[in-house]
């Protein structure tokens, strides 16, 4: 679905369903260099079980017009503005990786718009390896290849995608490459520069679910636990077998955890 946010074309998918104002809404926000497609194994369930699902392409990603936003704060405000355009007063928020930083900041700046919060493979901050950051800024494809290596756990490296025939690394590579016109570098830089995570997390009172992957090398389990411990009303779960891409590597486990969390807190 396309609409204008801040005067620029913005895209999100609602899994082919119309937005129903009588239903609760969940907004899904992807990680660095990625798109709404990463959420397909969670969003379709919620879209067909009583929720409006809004899986966005942040500006400069997927089908949303660029340029990419340069700070986590701008991304959080963009989400709020998207909700304004859709005339949705409150929404739950599910973020992955960089989307978790955006979620923290959205909760901090737009607390009154938030219902429930779920942070998957997140942390309080994401300082980037300087060499990786430079490669991404230089639009060097090696940055994508390194990212594909680091985001997948040992099982994701081999394969065994939950959807028959799909390749974790092949899909990820195409998703990031399709945005590799500088978007990845801008995203990594926004993550690197973000410093308000601790303050934002400390102020969150909304029920929050933090999901971590045991083999996550991008945001290791221990930084996920630090994040969860900063949020007062949070629960934390570590998924065995998962790397940084819990939403795909262990898609059903992630979906089931979200399902339980939303059921218990709605």
């Amino acid at each position: 679905m396309k609409l204008k946010v801040n005067g620029k074309e913005a895209y999100f998918t609602s899994s082919g369903r119309k937005i129903n104002k009588d239903q609760p809404t969940i907004i899904f926000v992807h990680g660095s260099g990625l798109t709404h497609v990463t959420w397909v194994l969670q969003t379709r369930y919620f879209a067909f079980h009583g929720y409006n699902t809004i899986a966005v392409d942040l500006p400069g990603h997927g089908d949303s017009e660029g340029p990419p936003l340069e700070s986590i704060e701008e991304m959080a405000d963009w989400i709020a503005e998207l909700l304004n355009v859709l005339e949705i007063k409150k929404s739950s928020y599910v973020g992955h990786s960089q989307g978790c930083l955006v979620g923290l900041e959205f909760a901090h700046r737009h607390s009154d718009r938030l219902e429930l919060l779920a942070l998957i493979n997140g942390s309080l901050s994401m300082k980037m390896n300087p060499e990786l950051l430079q490669l991404a800024k230089d639009k060097n494809h090696k940055a994508v290849d390194l990212m594909m290596d680091w985001v997948h756990g040992p099982l994701g490296q081999v394969g065994g995608h939950p959807v028959p025939g799909l390749s974790h690394i092949g899909m990820g590579n195409q998703l990031v490459s399709s945005n590799n016109n500088g978007t990845l570098g801008t995203d990594f830089n926004a993550c690197d520069q973000y410093e308000n995570g601790e303050k934002a997390a400390s102020g969150i009172n909304h029920p929050t679910l933090c999901i971590m992957g045991k083999y996550d090398r991008m945001t290791p389990k221990k930084v996920g636990i630090e994040l969860a411990n900063k949020i007062q009303n949070s629960q934390q779960v570590v998924i065995e077998d998962s790397g940084h891409m819990s939403i795909l590597e262990t898609a059903s486990d992630t979906k089931n955890l979200l399902k339980k969390f939303f059921k218990e807190n709605s």
């Binding site: 067909f48 490669l135 594909m148 099982l155 959807v163 025939g165 899909m171 399709s178």
Partner: protein, 437 residues
């Protein structure tokens, strides 16, 4: 900064797609000889049917053993997704029907396997899908043949049986300018000899029956999707972009992005046409793929031996292989496939059709059959067999002559094959020697 540590080609041939079995620790890929799979409850069943989560429902649509093969081929090609089918022909058919409907048009190379040619020339027109054939060296011809309703360009990198090389990067430029995908049959090259996606293909189809499986035991095909084709341009590809009633208004391009083509081919094509691969065949093909690199290297070195032998044989009127400097596509072939240009040789035998038949009938070790890419050396006379259903004009268009022998070089000791060929050549010339007395 160190390089990524994602697995390399040979490791992928052995491991990709297979997470060792948690129940019994089986190191080999288990053969899931099951038609269907237990649902956890009615919600789980509904979620699987509505593509809300991944998993297996019924082996016509997907099967755990076949899925390992699909991921392995996707990994070897560097694609986002793959779909295995019962045969190479069903992979080709499914790839075309995923984007073509009645009233649509295809531009295809004229140098194709006879079955592929007939599908395009005779069968698809019955369903309202027309094809214009272009000689693979006629790059400008591809451009001229494209119409507003053209949905793709189809070809073989290494043509069968004429062994013409399609200049894929050039053809791909034309397709990209026109906003249509290039679908390439990569059977003869395999992912070991070249990466078709790097050369400009958008979709690859394989007959896995041939070099990929490599042992002549199991039929199978595969579609592999690169994942970066923009289906959303205009309204040219409605099967990819418009809401599909068959799945509650699902738009495949919107929901599955880089795997949209594969998901549509599976969700609609496997559901409705049902050309599924058996799990036993998937297992056999997986076993074959484990030695793909080793076999391809040997196929290539044996091909060089046989080319030297045939090129210096007085009973051979011509030899056709892209590695030979006199092949019209020699330079292109070397550029596109630097590791080797395949193990198919075509040659002409002195004495024409009768000599060719005598040669083939005299073979004791080399097998006379309708297959290629086996570990065993194979020969056939295409004009009377694989391409026999083509009329004279089509045979000419495909560059087929009466004296042509198609030779798929195997992995035997080539001295033994040369002895066999020597006997064959003696037999082939015997009637003419008698007649000349």
């Amino acid at each position: 900064m160190s390089d990524p540590k994602t697995y390399k080609f040979n490791t992928k041939t052995l491991h990709s797609g297979h997470q060792p079995d948690k129940n019994y620790g089986s190191r080999a890929v288990p053969i899931y000889q099951s038609t269907s799979y237990l649902f956890q409850d009615t919600d789980h069943a509904a979620a699987l049917f509505n593509l809300e989560e991944g998993g297996h429902i019924y082996s016509r649509i997907s099967n755990p053993t076949v899925a390992v093969l699909e991921e392995r081929v996707a990994a070897l090609e560097g694609g986002s997704a793959a779909l295995a089918t019962a045969s190479g022909m069903s992979a080709m058919m499914l790839s075309l029907l995923t984007i073509c409907s009645a009233g649509d048009h295809i531009v295809a190379s004229s140098q194709l396997y006879g079955g592929s040619f007939n599908l395009l020339r005779l069968t698809l027109p019955r369903f309202g899908i027309e094809t214009t054939f272009v000689k693979p060296r006629d790059i400008e011809g591809f451009k001229k043949a494209i119409k507003p309703n053209t949905k793709c360009i189809f070809g073989e990198l290494i043509g069968n049986p004429g062994i013409e090389i399609m200049n894929l990067p050039e053809v791909s430029k034309i397709a990209k300018d026109e906003g249509i995908p290039v679908i390439i049959d990569g059977t003869f090259n395999t992912p070991y000899l070249c990466n078709l996606f790097d050369l400009g293909a958008d979709i690859i189809v394989h007959s896995l029956t041939k070099w990929m499986a490599g042992h002549g035991t199991s039929m199978g095909g595969c579609i592999v999707e690169k994942g970066d084709f923009n289906w959303k341009q205009g309204s040219k590809f409605p099967t990819m972009t418009e809401p599909y009633e068959g799945y509650h208004g699902l738009s495949f391009a919107e929901e599955f992005g880089p795997a949209a083509f594969t998901m549509r081919a599976r969700a609609e094509g496997m559901r409705d046409f049902g050309p599924s691969m058996s799990p036993m065949n998937a297992f056999n093909i997986l076993t074959g793929i484990e030695t793909l690199s080793l076999r391809m290297d040997k196929h290539i070195s044996n091909t060089a031996i046989m080319l030297d032998y045939l090129s210096n044989n007085e009973n051979v009127t011509w030899v056709n292989h892209p590695s030979l400097p006199n092949h019209p596509d020699h330079e292109v072939a070397k550029k596109l496939m630097p590791q080797g240009q395949g193990s198919m040789i075509a040659f002409g035998i002195k004495g024409g059709r009768e000599a060719g038949q005598a040669f083939i009938n005299a073979m004791k070790l080399t097998s006379h059959l309708a297959n290629v890419g086996d570990a065993k050396s194979l020969v056939i006379h295409p004009a009377s067999t694989t391409h026999s259903q083509m009329d004279k004009k089509s045979l000419e268009l495909a560059g087929l002559t009466d004296d042509m022998i198609r030779f798929s070089v195997g992995l035997e000791d080539m001295d033994d094959i040369i002895n066999d060929f020597n006997n064959g050549f003696r037999a082939s010339q015997k009637p003419r020697l008698v007649a000349s007395r």
